[in-house]
């Protein structure tokens, strides 16, 4: 890979710097025996250094885990601590939180769609070439993303690692008038968001299917982002089927009984199984589990984009089409953010006091990349005695490895010229980017080792 030679390397968010992935493929007699994705997972360090800190600190500390989805960490940490304290934040404070979270969805999903994922569908090595070829679409994507930034800056105090969030609510809540310019901005990009769905729906999608269980939060009546209970849709009986499978639900307190993490020798990240099965979280899972509760505008965009009828429980299992589902989610987030601003009345106080007590609490929310789970235990003074963080990328790792195995096998099985390592690398990068794991941020990130026996 080029990065062994001279290069200028940007080092960014605290926990992401080692985020380059490495993949080892073992091919025996034309059969992929194993695909091992090596990723570096920083939340483990955070679990250790959260112990002994105050119960008000996890939102600020865990937001540092990710420069792209700090709000997901903040919202999940807040809810887990609040449950331990026996307090529920509702009404306008909960709505304001949701507004902030939608800002992050808008920003993160449109970054992935336009700058990271779309170049794959045009054979462009990066967003720079895409911007030359598809300038209008990239400009549109940047407008959408900037509106998401604006939401995060307004409510979070700044766009990266927001500082205005605290357990119990916010340090400061906005007046109605302060949100008016945001609404104006969101209104201007609403059509852009729908147009983006149309744009990505026109891409060419390779045939593929992920026949795994799909795990997302379900909150009947709402396309869950920060509420609801974990719900798992079983893998289809026949491979490649898009029919909805049976759904089983469990309380978030039982999360660790269902989702079991185990160590694997090839990665510092733990791998998860859901009731002993391979599973996937993220956009495809959310669409399958909660699609019927999408905002009507987003649901209509989904139907027009050929994703089936979400109201009738449509399921999309082709990981290459995740870009379309992400675009639908952006349209949903924009519409919902507007609704929240329109209905907004400043809450009587910016936050609720949360006196500590010796207890434990857990929570799960939907980060852009998938379900994120936190659990904390504290003593009577509020000092944390335990912290547990299960991020979406670790949960998806086994599914991504299976996708990689399949996509490479399909290529090896194709008659004609043998695949070069270069071609396989590009193919694998695409397969990984389908799931928008943290490591996919890089335009060229993969060190590929192919062992051919």
């Amino acid at each position: 890979m080029s990065h062994r030679g001279p290069r200028v390397l940007r080092l960014d968010a605290l926990a992401r710097v080692e985020g380059e992935g490495a993949l080892r493929l073992t091919v025996n007699d034309g059969t992929v025996a194993e695909a091992r994705l090596k990723i570096y997972e920083p939340p483990r360090f955070f679990e250790a250094f959260l112990v002994g800190r105050g119960h008000y600190e996890p939102p600020d500390i865990t937001s540092r885990i990710c420069g792209i989805c700090p709000v997901a960490y903040q919202m999940t940490a807040c809810q887990a601590i609040e449950r331990a304290c026996g307090v529920t934040i509702d009404d306008q404070l909960a709505e304001l939180r949701r507004l902030l979270y939608y800002g992050e969805w808008i920003e993160s999903q449109s970054l992935h769609i336009h700058l990271l994922h779309a170049p794959d569908f045009f054979g462009c090595p990066s967003a720079v070439e895409l911007a030359r070829e598809q300038r209008e679409a990239v400009e549109r994507g940047l407008r959408i993303k900037q509106a998401g930034n604006a939401v995060m800056e307004q409510l979070g105090g700044r766009a990266i690692h927001p500082v205005n969030v605290r357990i119990g609510g916010f340090h400061r809540v906005p007046a109605r008038a302060e949100l008016a310019p945001l609404a104006e901005r969101l209104r201007r990009i609403q059509e852009d968001a729908v147009e983006t769905v149309r744009w990505v729906a026109g891409f060419d999608f390779p045939e593929a299917s992920c026949d795994y269980d799909l795990l997302a939060l379900q909150d009947p009546g709402r396309y869950a982002i920060d509420s609801g209970t974990p719900a798992a849709m079983a893998a289809p009986d026949s491979p490649g089927s898009d029919r909805a499978g049976p759904v089983r639900r469990f309380a978030v307190d039982e999360f660790e009984q269902h989702v079991v993490e185990r160590q694997v020798p090839h990665s510092t990240a733990l791998q998860s199984e859901l009731d002993g099965r391979r599973y996937l979280t993220g956009s495809l899972a959310r669409y399958a589990i909660g699609g019927r509760w999408l905002h009507p505008l987003a649901a209509e965009a989904a139907r027009a984009a050929g994703l089936g009828d979400p109201a009738a429980g449509a399921v999309v299992r082709n990981p290459f089409r995740s870009i379309v589902v992400r675009a639908v989610e952006v349209a949903h987030a924009v519409a919902e953010a507007l609704r929240i601003i329109d209905d907004y009345e400043p809450p009587p106080r910016p936050y609720v006091e949360l006196p500590p007590r010796p207890a434990a609490g857990c929570a799960a929310t939907e980060a852009p990349r998938g379900l994120l789970y936190h659990r904390y235990a504290m003593d009577a003074d509020g000092a944390l005695t335990q912290a547990r963080i299960v991020p979406p990328t670790a949960q998806n790792q086994a599914a991504i490895e299976e996708d990689l195995r399949r996509v490479v096998q399909t290529r090896l099985d194709r008659p004609g010229a043998a695949a070069t390592d270069e071609e396989l690398t590009a193919l694998c990068e695409r397969a990984i980017r389908n799931h928008d794991p943290c490591i996919s941020c890089s335009a060229h990130f993969l060190d590929l080792t192919v062992e051919r026996a």
Partner: protein
């Protein structure tokens, strides 16, 4: 609308030498005209594109990682050189700085003038504080950045009457 002088300190103070950009921003704060826009960035490309307008003079300061490296060495790049640095970059986080400039160029969003002052870092591990090599280079790096800022103000001063798109004023 006339241009501004925008100074961007890139980097993460919690990754030791990567924090040199923000450190320089603090160091020049008392040395430059009050209307200088001093800002820091984590490197996220779209947010960077938002930090300047096309008619601005932009000064970027950051730490770089080179192989083979010479920690503490100072580099100054013009816009076209910085753009070319995109080749072979492998940022873990969206796009590298060079790609950000290349993206800006592809979208006609480059500022009127751009200069990048960089120092080669030695230590990008977790934690605060600069390595000895970078700490030693900090005063000279700061001096270069302050010089570029003053030069940019002089250029803007001479370029009064520009049109909003950054081009020279032409009679209708």
């Amino acid at each position: 609308m006339t241009g501004r002088v925008v100074v961007i300190g890139m980097g993460n103070p919690f990754r030791r030498d990567d924090g040199v950009g923000p450190a320089v921003i603090e160091a020049v704060r008392t040395q430059v005209p009050a209307d200088t826009v001093l800002t820091v960035s984590d490197g996220e490309p779209v947010r960077i594109l938002d930090l300047w307008h096309r008619h601005d003079q932009v000064v970027v300061v950051e730490a770089v990682h080179a192989h083979p490296g010479q920690p503490g060495r100072l580099l100054t790049l013009r816009a076209d050189q910085a753009e070319r640095a995109a080749v072979g970059s492998a940022s873990t986080h969206a796009l590298g700085l060079g790609e950000t400039f290349a993206l800006a160029a592809a979208l006609d969003r480059m500022p009127r003038a751009l200069v990048v002052h960089a120092v080669e870092g030695a230590d990008f591990t977790l934690g605060v504080g600069l390595s000895p090599a970078v700490r030693t280079a900090l005063p000279e790096l700061t001096r270069r950045v302050a010089d570029s800022i003053r030069k940019a103000h002089r250029t803007l001063g001479r370029a009064g009457g520009d049109t909003a798109d950054g081009g020279p004023h032409k009679p209708p």
